[in-house]
């Protein structure tokens, strides 16, 4: 199976180190979430993967081979800064980028029409791109990046500018590409949109990897869990207070008892003690969200 491998990649611009030691793998048919704050080195990492920039040190390989122009032609890219030929019509634009990636006529136009249909751009197909709204231009860009059924598709902030309906359409399209075997690399600050989409996550900050693995792996590395109990009755609070190493966390104004406990706490035993102490209407062991993990990783970096 084709796999993208980055091994100890580093890149500096003058005295500024953008990426210091980044390693990860992205197998075909999987989705990889590349996360990090602004200036973390995400865009530089993506440009290195795509061969736009060369690494100072480290190795980037696809299918075990260094990435050359031919390989790059099989990749797709949606950069954060969008760009289209304003005077070119939507269909022509999509077909042109398809041809650049080796899709010969007449398939370029056929596939362009298929993407136009899929992304709901039919009424704009023969209009110059400059006349489209920002959201529709974003969809055209996605079609340009994906028309050639890329082996690897790198998307930098793909959901920016899309309304919820269009974001859902794009989400489904990306799932289909993954099913078809495309390796996806997504970078976004809208973490909730990719939590179910990505198989693996990598949080980078200051140019270095701070957290890396599947959501289950990352959660397994998390030392605590939050348990939520309703109603917030004093006997139930007393049980939670008595649990070893438990500490109350903010309830955000909800009528609920929320306590952080060690991850290895015997949850079943805790529930039995709570039920014995009073009437429990709700008990939940809350897994840390991607956002929790991200914030903690970034915090550690800071």
């Amino acid at each position: 199976m084709s796999t993208l491998v980055l091994s100890h990649v580093a890149r500096s611009f003058g005295s500024v180190t953008a990426v210091r030691d980044v390693s990860f793998t992205v197998p075909a048919g999987t989705t990889f979430g590349l996360l990090g704050p602004n200036g973390a080195g995400k865009t530089t990492t993506m440009r290195i993967i795509l061969g736009i920039l060369a690494p100072d040190t480290g190795i980037v390989r696809w299918d075990g081979q260094p990435i050359d122009v031919r390989t790059r032609q099989r990749f797709g890219y949606l950069p954060e800064e969008r760009g289209l030929y304003g005077k070119l019509k939507v269909r022509d634009q999509i077909a042109y980028f398809g041809r650049l990636h080796g899709v010969a006529p007449p398939n370029d136009v056929k596939r362009a029409d298929a993407w136009i249909e899929r992304l709901g751009l039919n009424e704009y197909a023969d209009r110059p791109c400059a006349e489209l709204s920002k959201g529709n231009q974003q969809k055209v860009q996605v079609a340009c990046a994906a028309l050639h059924e890329p082996a690897l598709l790198v998307l930098d902030e793909p959901f920016t500018g899309l309304d919820p309906v269009n974001a859902e359409t794009l989400h489904d399209a990306l799932l289909d590409l993954r099913r078809a075997g495309t390796a996806l690399i997504l970078s976004t600050h809208q973490l909730w949109q990719i939590e179910d989409l990505c198989d693996t996550f990598c949080v980078i900050a200051g140019g270095a990897v701070r957290a890396y693995g599947s959501l289950a792996d990352l959660r397994a590395q998390w030392a605590t869990r939050v348990v939520e109990v309703e109603p917030p009755a004093p006997p139930l609070r007393a049980v939670l207070e008595a649990t070893p190493q438990a500490r109350a966390v903010t309830e955000n104004g909800r009528a609920v008892l929320a306590y952080e406990v060690p991850a290895d706490t015997d949850t079943a035993g805790l529930l039995r003690r709570l039920v014995a102490a009073g009437d429990v209407t709700r008990f939940e062991r809350v897994e840390p969200s991607l956002q929790d993990i991200y914030i903690r990783a970034i915090g550690a970096a800071a």
Binding site: I52, F75, P79, G83, G86, R99, G102, A145
Partner: protein, 409 residues
């Protein structure tokens, strides 16, 4: 489908349908048309000074008619004028530009010319009538005087390319015309290729393109497309020049200036095929070198308003090459001309001039062309690096030192 061909096709279509290309081509063609036809049209509107009528003593006008026939079209021969002629009188007598009244007095022949535009009356008139003046003064027959006034002078080229004066003058005209066309094509197309690169950079399309295509390939395809449209533009201008020259000669066949215009316009057709090939080769490599430099320069700017500042230094070698070519018309084989004809960027102008007006050793032509091809290749590689880095720089434009570091990397 080859990526180079894909980009070339797209660029070619974009450029050939662009307003700037169409406007430049049409304006150039109209300019050539006007240069070819306007003098004739204006001449015709204002009355042609070569179309004349003679008036006066029939004995004198009969001889004068014969003598003047070489340079003038004598439309009418009239008796002595009763009064100075009016414009209407000139119109009624064959719409002539001039009525010349000839008479005799004690000093010999006397001529009063009534011209619509006195400033345009040609001096050859007096020269043509000189045999008659001498004949009247000496009593010799006009034919004898004519024969003795003509001194046969034959000019023969020595150690040069041309057998006579007229072919040498024509070759200089051809060299000047072709060098001017190269100059015009470079400057006109430089603007359009720079605008194209700047559009891709400022709209951020460049990042998508370099992710899929080698920047040097992208640059080459863009420049080749630019060269193709440059050739088409050149072809249109040359064709318009030829056709307008022919048309002018037909329209104004009665007008000697028409024949002159035709000679000027179709002159290039008489250029030997070797020289035409030389022009095409030097035009191509010259155009390529400058187009590559202009494209790389455009990749360094972040706003289209800054195009002028990066274009300015590149105009200098174009102008220097053009000026050297003009000077070289008179000194084609001077040592410094031989030197500049081997310097890339300048040699497309200088070497072509030398080829057109002198016998240049074949090895010098081959060496110059080879150096130009090598220079074009090196420029594509170096400019490709600048282009690659420049396209991704969105902050302050890089300093000259940074560009050098990039080129060395």
């Amino acid at each position: 489908m080859n990526v180079l061909a894909v980009i070339y096709n797209a660029e070619f279509l974009r450029r050939i349908t662009s307003r700037s290309f169409l406007a430049g081509t049409v304006i150039g063609a109209v300019g050539i048309l006007l240069i070819s036809v306007l003098p004739n049209v204006l001449g015709n509107l204002g009355g042609d000074t070569k179309r004349i009528a003679l008036a006066g003593d029939p004995l004198v006008t009969a001889t004068a008619r014969t003598l003047l026939a070489r340079d003038f079209k004598i439309v009418a021969v009239l008796p002595p004028l009763a009064a100075p002629p009016t414009t209407e009188f000139l119109d009624q007598n064959g719409r002539v530009g001039v009525i010349a009244e000839l008479s005799r007095d004690a000093k010999g022949l006397r001529v009063v010319a009534y011209a619509r535009d006195p400033s345009q009356f040609r001096g050859t008139f007096a020269r043509d009538l000189a045999p008659l003046q001498i004949a009247l003064g000496t009593g010799l027959p006009v034919t004898a005087v004519r024969e003795h006034l003509t001194v046969p002078v034959e000019v023969r080229g020595v150690g040069g390319k041309f057998a006579d004066e007229s072919s040498a003058v024509a070759a200089k005209g051809v060299a000047y015309l072709f060098v001017f066309l190269l100059y015009l094509a470079i400057l006109l197309n430089a603007q359009s290729i720079m605008a194209s690169v700047a559009e891709e950079k400022t709209s951020r399309i460049a990042e998508l393109l370099v992710a899929a295509v080698d920047p040097a390939q992208l640059l080459t395809a863009k420049v080749l497309a630019s060269a193709s449209t440059g050739f088409i533009q050149l072809g249109v201008w040359v064709l318009v020049g030829i056709l307008s020259g022919r048309e002018a000669s037909t329209m104004f066949a009665h007008n000697a200036a028409g024949a002159e215009s035709l000679a000027n316009a179709v002159g290039p057709l008489a250029v030997p095929p070797g020289e035409v090939l030389g022009f095409i080769a030097f035009f191509f490599v010259g155009f390529l070198q400058y187009a590559v430099l202009y494209a790389a320069a455009a990749s360094l700017i972040n706003r289209t308003e800054d195009l002028g500042s990066v274009a300015m230094p590149l105009v200098i070698p174009v102008v220097v090459g053009f000026i050297l070519a003009q000077i070289g018309l008179n000194f084609p084989n001077a040592p410094w001309m031989q030197f500049f004809s081997q310097v890339p960027l300048l040699s497309p102008f200088v070497m072509f001039t030398r080829i057109a007006v002198s016998n240049v050793p074949v090895w010098q032509v081959v060496l110059s062309l080879a150096l130009d091809v090598v220079a074009a290749y090196v420029l594509v590689r170096l400019a490709g690096k600048v282009y690659r880095v420049g396209l991704l720089l969105y902050g302050r434009p890089p300093s000259f030192r940074q560009i050098l570091v990039t080129l060395r990397s």
